[in-house]
Amino acid sequence: MVETYRPESLQEALEIRARGALPFGGGTDLMVARRGYTGNLPQFDGTLLFTDRVAELRRITVAEEVMEIGAAVTMTELLEHPETPDLLREALALIAAPGIRNRATLGGNIGNASPAGDSLVPLYLYDARVELESLRGSRIIPLKELITGVRKLTLADNELLTRIILPLTVFTRTSYRKVGTRRANALSKLSFSGALTLKRDGTIEDLRIALGAVAPTVVRRETIEKSLQGKSLEGLNPKETAQKWANDITPINDQRSTAAYRKQVALNLIAGFIRKAQEEL
């Protein structure tokens, strides 16, 4: 028998989580993972914690150039918010289809920690942080420290992901690209987020690259990015510059794509981002 709870306060939710309940946001991953096939109930055991009625988890607030997103905010709600950055918006708009986006939550996409999770790529690029709460208190860590591998989180059994903290950094240009088999309901073969801010003299102030589905977790290498700061954008060779990320792009062969394709396209997308920025100087 499955026990289910649908609390309306965060305090109550934390109490239920403390008893080891499974957090359940929109269910768009869980109801598939635990499906019982026609005529049978989904295969859950223990306790389910429905988070969709917890007011604190449904809020989006913006203050001082930081957006705080409750973990149970749906993809559609985030898409409809006027201050959601374009890069994140573009990624969310290509997730699944309207029916899924109306239910799927940002917290769930993070919690599922798939290497191909689409919302993760822009979140990593923006240096998003997450708040993890329990009855004992709360801690805030960078998102990149929460996800350590394929479906692996440094989340304690009594902790609940409650907020995503997104700095609303403004860039000169951003670019998102999802490579998939079709326009909707396609799991990414790979995805790309790029952001660039130039100084007035055409040198790079900030360059960020994040890649999805080409490694166990999102690929972002601040050391490479820092090595390009101060360089003239015009002087970069796009292909050679992209090669700097080659060793960190470690995709696999699976039913969606091959490692070779993913790697080549990822490098092409990095080079293309730089080339396009150069063309529009």
Binding site: T4, R6, V32, R35, L41, P42, F50, A97, G99
Partner: protein, 156 residues
């Protein structure tokens, strides 16, 4: 668990496991078979219903999350003038072959037109992007929805 929700405008309640799929409750327990199961994993849209006015895949909704919600199925939609306009447009445009995707497509049409009464083709295609059709090639379905928007002037 006792669950209460509004189904096609009527207060409905019953004793069901909270994790039971809304799709199964609608079809098996309540006998409303207009909603179809095509894939059971949220990819085909045949199970589309409106939940508080939004299009969702009922194969992914546990009944516990439908507590207190307004649910509309194809049976409910076709009872009102907007549903009738959509039905007529689908028939007129020749947008129905086997008919299996059609209930879901109609729900998607209503979800779109209730937000955007005069959509362009791009908006229509985006609105049905979660609904798969194996027969028609989608073009006539798109035309049907544009036709419904045109002929149903004032309904949305």
């Amino acid at each position: 668990m006792k669950i209460n929700f509004t189904l096609n405008g009527k207060e409905t309640s019953g004793d069901w496991p909270a994790e039971k799929r809304l799709l199964d409750v609608i079809r098996e327990d309540l006998g409303l078979t207009g909603t179809k199961e095509g894939c059971g994993e949220g990819e085909c849209g045949a199970c589309s219903v409106l939940l508080d006015g939004k299009i969702v895949n009922s194969c992914l909704i546990p009944l516990g999350q439908a507590e207190g919600a307004r649910v509309v199925t194809p049976e409910g939609l076709k009872e009102n003038p907007r549903g009738k306009a959509i039905l007529d447009a689908f028939a007129q445009a020749g947008a129905v072959q086997c008919g299996f995707c059609t209930p879901g497509m109609m729900m998607a049409a209503e979800a779109l037109l209730s937000r955007n009464p005069k959509p362009d083709e791009q908006a229509v295609r985006e609105a049905i992007s979660g609904n798969l059709c194996r027969c028609t090639g989608y073009d006539k379905i798109v035309l049907a929805i544009l036709l419904a928007a045109e002929k149903g002037d004032g309904l949305w």
